[in-house]
C-alpha cells in the first residue's frame, strides 16, 4: 500500500463527502413524491382500519372516498377553524403549540352499518419512539366504534402488540365519559373486568407502551372535550 500525504487524505475525504452528499440528496429528491404518496395511502388505510374496514394498497383511495366523506379542523373551544385541511395537519407539530392555538382535526365517516362516526387522530410516546393511531367514536360522542394503533419501533411481540387486532378489538364499545366527566380508557395491568366500560387489558411485557398508549388517548381526546359534549345526542 502506497503512503499518502495528509494533504491527499484531506482532499480525498472532501471529494468523497461531496460526491456522496450529492448522490444521496439527488436520490432523496427524486424518490420523495413516491414516498409521500405511500405515507398518504398508509394514513388513509389506518383511518379506514379504525372504522373496521380493511383495505389493500390498491383500493385504499376508493374506499377512503367512499366512507370518509368530510373532514374539518376545530380549536380547543370546539369551534370550527376555516381554511385548514384536516388531512394535512401534522399532530406532532400541533402538540408543540400552546393548547389554544392547536388545530384539532376531525374526520366524519359513515360505515356500512349506517352509524355516523367521527374519527380523531391521536399521537403519543411509546417506549422507543412515537406511537399513533385513530379513535373512531359513535354519534353519541362517547362510545368507541373502533381504533387503530401503530408505532414506529416498539419491541416486536411486546409493545408492538398494540397494532394487533386482538388488542385493538378490546376498545369496541368502551366509553370515554362518565356522565359529563372525561375519564378516557384505562389500560389495566392484570386484565380488565368484563363489566369495566373504561378499561382494557394491558399488554404483558409492554407496560411502558401500554401506559404511553393510555396517556396518548387521554391527552389527545381531552382537547376535544368541549366539542364532544356539545355535539352528543
Amino acid at each position: 500500500m502506497k503512503q499518502f500525504s495528509n494533504r491527499y487524505i484531506f482532499i480525498f475525504s472532501s471529494v468523497m463527502v461531496v460526491a456522496v452528499a450529492t448522490l444521496l440528496s439527488l436520490a432523496a429528491t427524486l424518490l420523495q413524491p413516491a414516498q409521500e404518496r405511500n405515507l398518504e395511502i398508509e394514513k388513509k388505510r389506518n383511518m379506514l382500519e379504525s372504522i373496521n374496514i380493511s383495505s389493500t394498497r390498491g383500493n385504499t383511495e376508493d374506499l377512503y372516498d367512499k366512507y370518509i366523506n368530510e373532514s374539518f379542523v376545530i380549536n380547543s373551544k370546539g369551534e370550527p377553524v376555516d381554511g385548514v385541511d384536516a388531512f394535512t395537519v401534522v399532530l406532532k407539530n400541533e402538540q408543540k403549540k400552546p393548547p389554544e392555538e392547536q388545530y384539532l382535526p376531525i374526520f366524519r365517516a359513515v360505515p356500512d352499518d349506517g352509524e355516523k362516526v367521527i374519527i380523531i387522530p391521536v399521537e403519543g410516546k411509546g417506549l422507543w419512539g412515537p406511537i399513533y393511531g385513530y379513535v373512531a367514536l359513535k354519534s353519541d360522542m362517547n362510545t368507541i366504534y373502533g381504533v387503530n394503533f401503530d408505532h414506529k419501533g416498539e419491541t416486536p411481540g411486546l409493545g408492538a402488540e398494540i397494532n394487533t387486532s386482538a388488542f385493538e378489538s378490546q376498545f369496541h364499545d368502551k366509553k370515554l365519559f362518565d356522565d359529563e366527566n372525561f375519564v378516557s380508557v384505562q389500560v389495566i395491568k392484570g386484565g380488565a373486568a368484563d363489566a369495566d366500560i373504561h378499561g382494557v387489558d394491558a399488554i404483558s411485557g409492554g407496560t411502558i407502551t401500554s401506559k404511553g398508549l393510555q396517556k396518548m388517548i387521554f391527552d389527545c381526546i381531552q382537547k376535544y372535550d368541549d366539542y364532544l359534549l356539545k355535539n352528543r345526542n
Binding site: 499518502f4 480525498f12 444521496l24 424518490l31 414516498q35 405511500n38 398508509e42 419501533g153 411481540g157
Partner: protein, 217 residues
C-alpha cells in the same frame, strides 16, 4: 495486480468466488457472520427474500466501488471510506424500498439500516475488495450476499411454514384442512431463539456432510 492478461468474465476462478460462499465458505454457517439479522427477519419469507436481495445488492456494489478505487484509498482512512460506501448504498436501498415496496420497508424497518453494521460487508471489503479487481470483487459480493440470503430463505421457509402455516403468505395448512384435524401452529418457532436453533441445525448438517469443515483439536 501485476497480472496483465485478460481473463474471461466467468473464469473458473471467478465462478468459484460465486459458488464457494453458497456452500463450504458460507458467511453465516461457516464464517458465522451476520447472525443477528438472520434471527430477526426470518419469521416470514417475504421480508427474508427482500433482505437477502438488499444485502446482495449492497455487498456486490460496495465491493465493486471499493475495488475500483482501492489504489486511491489512503490506507489510514480505509475503514472510514468503506463505511461511507456501505452507508451510502444502504440508504439508497432504503429509499428505494420506501418508495416502491412500502409494506416490506415497514416490516424490515430498522433492519435495512442495520445492514450497515452487518459484519459480512465490512469483512468482504477488507478481506477481498481491498486487494482484488472490481469484477472479481463484484462476483465475490454477489456470492457472499447470496450465501447469506440462502440461509435466510431456508430458515424463513421453515419458520413461516411451521410457525404460521403459510408459504410466502399462502395458507397451505388451511387449504389442506389440517387445522380441522386438530393441528396447531407452533408459536415457539416464531420466536428468535428458534431461528438460532435452526441455524445451528443447518451448521450441524453441513459439517456432518463436509468433514473438512470440522476444526481439528
Amino acid at each position: 495486480m501485476n497480472n496483465q492478461e485478460r481473463e474471461p468474465i466467468f473464469s473458473a476462478k471467478n465462478l468459484k468466488l460465486l459458488t464457494e460462499p453458497l456452500g463450504k465458505n458460507n458467511p453465516i454457517t461457516v464464517q458465522v457472520l451476520g447472525i443477528c439479522s438472520a434471527l430477526a427477519v426470518t419469521v416470514k419469507l417475504k421480508p427474508a427474500i427482500v433482505m437477502a436481495l438488499s444485502v446482495i445488492i449492497v455487498t456486490a456494489v460496495s465491493n465493486f466501488v471499493i475495488a475500483a478505487i482501492r489504489q486511491y484509498i489512503p490506507d489510514r482512512i480505509r475503514i472510514i471510506v468503506q463505511l461511507v460506501v456501505i452507508a451510502t448504498m444502504v440508504i439508497l436501498v432504503d429509499q428505494f424500498l420506501k418508495a416502491y415496496v412500502f409494506d416490506v420497508s415497514k416490516q424490515l424497518s430498522v433492519f435495512v439500516g442495520l445492514i450497515i453494521t452487518n459484519c459480512i460487508l465490512m469483512g468482504r471489503l477488507e478481506a477481498f475488495a481491498m486487494g482484488n479487481k472490481p469484477w472479481p470483487s463484484f462476483i465475490d459480493g454477489i456470492g457472499n450476499g447470496a450465501g447469506y440470503g440462502i440461509i435466510l430463505v431456508v430458515v424463513a421457509f421453515v419458520r413461516e411454514f411451521f410457525g404460521s402455516g403459510t408459504i410466502y403468505g399462502y395458507p397451505v395448512f388451511e387449504k389442506l384442512g389440517i387445522y380441522k384435524a386438530g393441528y396447531e401452529n407452533n408459536g415457539m418457532i416464531i420466536l428468535p431463539p428458534m431461528a438460532l436453533i435452526l441455524v445451528g441445525l443447518i451448521i450441524w448438517l453441513q459439517r456432518s456432510r463436509n468433514r473438512s469443515l470440522i476444526e481439528k483439536q
